[in-house]
Symmetry: C2
Subunit: 202 residues, 2 copies
């Protein structure tokens, strides 16, 4: 396929524009939630008209899908997914909490607000979050199970329950951290939770 | 003060009406969040006009204040607040999780959605949630500290950190439970978290 310099340039420009719109959407959805976040405000933030924005994403649900995809890309970047789940997957979750607190507070807010909104069955992201939690719980359960097989888990620790609680703790800490960032260190609290469950250091 | 039968009756009727409106508001805010929940839908649920509703609560923020007050009343009913905080306060939190799962799923949803929405500083319930978390964390920290003084806490457990994590775990479990109620038992997960922290049974 031959591409002229111009079309390559346009493609890059379009991709860049889409990215800008998604970044603005993350901020707006994180601040106002999905249902109350307005296309108008997103368009304003990137200096476009609403019509111009709708040229890139044909409706708000498409924008939501794009935002969730971008967010997944980033949030799993610190969790190794290319190897058998195990202790490093669990450590990856702690690293992600550390990273998000420092560099991606907007993603923390987005997750917190959207996951809560989406507990309502009629929310457009409901199924996404049901599936996402099923996947994360199963990934983390496997990680704990493999750590158990490797003799790294203390006796009596149930892998699935530990996985669900680790994820819950991480979600819940976000609420307190968003309300009062100076009152707690999310990664440190996760490590404190994990230490007594393992025979190895955390 | 003398009250005629009629005015006493009216008063009871007004109080009953206010209560009905608050119950409907809990459902609507739990489903749609505060910002997206509409007065129209609340009015419809209680078979009133919006004007009629505004006779009882002059605006949406007043309704929110009423809902939060009612919710506080209920959620602390199971946590003993009339004695020195200690092991029974912590047990009360587990009992509350048990009770809410069985009898008050609407309150769980309300808390989950409103607390997430209210992490945004401009949300009308932002200060309420900042204050509420400050209060709950301090109450629970005191309970853990007193348990420690009574020799009920294992060595190395930090009371404040344990308090923050217990509250976070409880909040985070709600998200998973609302998304997929059959996948976990919130009270049992809280007990599993607490057991290794204590020298006494949970």
């Amino acid at each position: 396929m031959t591409m002229t310099g111009k079309s390559r340039g346009s493609y890059a420009k379009t991709a860049g524009r889409r990215r800008e719109i998604l970044e603005a959407s993350i901020e707006v959805f994180a601040n106002h939630g999905f249902r109350n976040g307005s296309l108008r405000e997103i368009a304003e933030r990137v200096g476009m008209s609403q019509a111009g924005l709708l040229h890139h994403f044909s409706n708000k649900n498409e924008l939501l899908a794009g935002v969730l995809e971008l967010r997944d890309e980033r949030s799993v970047a610190l969790v190794p997914l290319d190897e058998t789940p195990g202790i490093e997957t669990i450590r990856g979750m702690v690293r992600a909490a550390e990273y998000n607190a420092e560099f991606a507070p907007g993603l923390v807010e987005l997750h917190c607000v959207l996951s809560a909104e989406a507990t309502a069955p009629e929310h457009p992201a409901h199924q996404y979050f049901v599936d996402r939690y099923t996947w994360v719980v199963s990934l983390m359960s496997e990680a704990f199970t493999n750590a158990q097989a490797a003799g790294q888990l203390r006796e009596g620790v149930d892998p699935r329950s530990a996985a669900q609680s680790l994820i819950a703790l991480s979600d819940g800490l976000q609420v307190q951290w968003l309300l009062a960032p100076d009152t707690l260190d999310m990664a440190e609290e996760l490590r404190r939770y994990l230490r007594p469950l393992f025979t190895i250091d955390f």
